[in-house]
Amino acid sequence: MSLGRRAFLQFVGGAIGGTLLTPIPWKLADDSAIWTQNWSWRPSPERGEITRVRSVCQLCPGGCGITARLVNGRRAVAVTGNEAHALSGGGVCPMGASSLQYLYAPYRIQQPLKQMGSRGDSKGFKPVSWAEALKEVTAKLTKLRSEGKSHTVACLTGQKRSTMARLWKRFLTAYGSPNFYTMPDAADSMRLAVALTTGRDAEVGFLWDKATYVLNFGAPLLEGWGSPVYLQKVFGRWQTEKPGVPRTVLVHVESRASLTASKAHRWIACNPGTEAALALGIAHVLVRDKLYDAAFVAEKVFGFEDWTDATGAQRKGFRNVVLAKYGVEETAKITGVAPQTIQDLARELAKQKHALVVWGQDKGDKPNSLYHDLAFLALNALLGTLTPSGTVVLVPPDPWGDLPEPVLDTEAYRGAGQTALGRPSTVPRTKAPVNTVLPFLEALASGSEYPVELLFIHEANPAYSLPETALVTQALQKAAMVVSFSSFMDETTQWADIILPNHTALERLDDVIGLPGAPYVYYALASPIVKPLYDTKGTGDVLLNLAAAVGGGVAESHPWKTYEEVLKATVASIAKAGTGLVATAGSFDPASVLPGRPLQPNFKDAADLWNKLKAGACWVDAPAAVESFATPSERYELACQGLMVSISPTAADDLFMPRFHPLKPSGEESEFPLLLVAYASLMLSEGYVPNTPFMNKLLPDDVLRKQDVFVEIHPETARTLGLADKAAAVLKTPRGETPVRVRLTTAVKPGVVAAPQGFGHTAYDEYVQQKGFNANSLVEVQLDPITGLGTLWATRAQLRRA
């Protein structure tokens, strides 16, 4: 048979049609698979039965539902969202969607390692057995405890919203050390502010679906703040036309035209770091024009009017302070926002049926100045959003009660009496936990107070992702022994003496407690989607193992054999609490959950709840309504009496209440005339895990080009510096300098340099390294003078031609 060229093509076309009609489950749309012998060097993925496993993502605090697709139950080939998940629907973020690239990453640590060379030498690690590695750590723990040095053991974990954090804290308490830290979080300062003003330990949740008008001070709602996918879903709902329902208006305040600013219905451009001043200026107008919720203020608020402190001294109240200090003109001068705009915003807010004021920074991983958290809370209080019918709720971090109290033996008592390393004495004593990570690292690096003999680092990469990386590296070198539990050879783990590699997020059973920014009490279990690929162990199990080996009160405090048992205990206490339900998309309306109306359980018992959670569902409940306050005045305290212990009794009246309190950046303006701000993006990871190759493909070539990262500057700034678009330059701050390239854009204000976070890794592999600079190595942290928390707003900077 002879086929002409045309006929041949028709023949092939026919063959395609034919294959489409064959009901073979793994039939391919293209016909390359049958030709694979011709491209033997190109991988031919093994075929087989495709199954799905549902779980919950643990890569950020977002708590999103995920679905993994497996081939022959062994090979995970895709991670997508879980459409049955009540809050994230089928959505994921780019990091969640590329999570398999962490599971299968070449930079994974495949067995326990011990540093045989000198500290920090990534080539010096040699494999050791688990038994050997654990023996060494146990010996150190036992020795320190017998020498009465238990307080010199410290832990820094990045898994803040998991039972793991509680287990670490428990371990250290029972062992006898106050030095338990989690990676910094916006909740660190917010919980203190909430405790001071309301007398409760709670996070702030926002009723996004109820709000008709959202005034957002700086939180990149669409770029990774809070629970990212949940918020994207909320935004999707705001943008969906519903007949008869007016759209929720989003007004965004920020210095830079971030994507959130661009997507908002209105963007208020202010000077970098002056959002809190604007909030107080708006409060001024509300007070001056009597636009605030007078009933709430009269009945439930303390310190609005002048007050008398415990020593009998007369003090000015919020009304007089805000009227005197935050006039519209003054506020306009600080913020760069026009006086008229400030007045309009106040009036618009006051008009709303359901106004909401939110605030935040980056991905919620930076504590705020205490006074600024107080200012945003105060604006909410003035608007009456904290009432049971309002838009702000207080979400307790563990409403169903913690694990049973640990058993404290003598050494544990001794340790509990020690001060946490570097903790300032000004930190107010409230119900909220105190997480002074940076003062701890500073004291460790400088060798003041006492040394750290053993430092555990878990699911965190502080040497990369904390600001002032130089300080962190110094601190790591000062710790006598560093044990890392990382699954990856990251910048921090390179400084470890012993590595006890954890299973990655997709290989272990774990949990997620609470969703930042969401108005729900939330709990979910993350089930492993594949068996562990390497000789790794879940850190929860390792910790229980260590506790048993140390013995005494430490062993007694940890009666569980496996981490799974601990999780089961948590789930049992949720089931026992008797409220909250297993929420599934479709039957669950996130907008219907209102504070004070607990949800009716839809599960039989703890075992039933466990099984449903293990299958990828989440448990949701409504928080209690804020009916009363547990402060000394039994009211919401605009003037915080809890601050009496932190500041001198002779301090000025405004030091007890919200105020605009910028900390002076170091360096001289003459040398550093510009301000550097760092920004977050969902396309970039600046946390425990680095960018995946999938995520790198998303990056525009005016953000990253080969090894160069671009910083954004206004064309005017560029003109004064003689820099053309894409030009090479040197960016210098009091913390260091780095080569950069500039992108000219009117998205930033003249005088400001905006740098992306998430570049500049030196660890991992060739897909991650050699890409620009780490913004954290250039920015300056400022310790809040009251809470000791590391805050960040802007760093003085200089740009010059390269």
Binding site: L9, V77, Y104, L682, A747
Partner: protein, 253 residues
């Protein structure tokens, strides 16, 4: 069936299409990552040379050109437009070996890598830069070969690739329909990008079914297509209420 393309085009009840709501899209990039994973799109240590990179779903930044603080930006996700111009799409018209063809039954423009001779005529013809060329053989880090999906074959050096509207997902859905005794032509399926989009910005379905969401949205007053003046008849529609975005729809990407 390609021989009788024209007549079938007129008759087919199915025209798969997509609507991307730019008022909802936040430019997060989840769609593009899901696409890479779903379709074994390969990557290299340096992905910043955009003339060399492989990308089926690309995000473009649109800017309104105004000064501070009137500046606004938006991201525009761009898959293949699966152009429905009569007889041929621009790319299928120029392909000398019928490696890229429009399935007139569904309207999907496919690219069959093993037939592709790498002449790149189609890349030149495509006004949307929807096609990428394999300048190198794909190479995954050894441990990552385990995550390659068997549903789509990895391509090889010297061929072009592009968005297929996740054609393999359609095939699966059609097979399932047949096994269940249902009409394969009435199946609805969701491509990977639409599946993961957290804001629900991407709607996919049969444009010829007047009751489908995608058909309704394509008639929304906010709807427009890219480079409509070229009459390529894209089956990807965009929605935006921002004038400055709509105005740019006739600019090249």
């Amino acid at each position: 069936m390609s021989g009788s393309a024209h007549s079938e085009h007129a008759e087919s009840k199915v025209r798969y299409g997509m609507v991307i709501d730019l008022d909802k899209c936040t430019g997060c990039g989840a769609c593009s990552v899901a696409c890479q994973q779903e379709n074994n799109v390969s990557f290299r240590p340096d992905e910043s040379d955009k003339l060399r990179t492989l990308s089926w779903m690309t995000l473009y930044r649109l800017e309104n050109g105004a000064g501070y603080p009137d500046y606004r930006a938006a991201m525009l996700p761009r898959p293949c437009m699966h152009c429905d111009s009569p007889h041929h799409s621009p790319c299928t018209f120029v392909c000398p070996v019928n490696a890229t063809i429009r399935d007139e039954h569904t309207g999907i423009v496919d690219h069959v890598a093993v037939r592709c001779i790498g002449c790149r005529y189609c890349m030149v013809a495509c006004p949307y830069h929807a096609r990428s060329f394999n300048w190198w053989d794909p190479k995954w880090p050894k441990s990552m070969e385990a995550m390659l999906t068997p549903e789509v074959s990895p391509r090889m050096r010297g061929v072009v690739e592009k968005c297929t509207f996740c054609h393999h997902r359609l095939n699966l859905a059609r097979d399932r329909a047949r096994l269940n005794g249902e009409d394969p032509d009435s199946v609805v399926y969701t491509p990977a990008c639409a599946e993961v989009c957290p804001t629900g910005a991407i709607t996919f379905g049969n444009l010829k079914d007047p009751n489908s969401d995608v058909a309704k949205l394509a008639k929304d007053p906010r709807a427009f297509r890219l480079l409509e003046k070229l009459h390529t008849e894209p089956k990807v529609y965009y929605l935006s209420s921002a004038q400055w975005i709509r105005r740019q729809s006739d600019n090249g990407l």
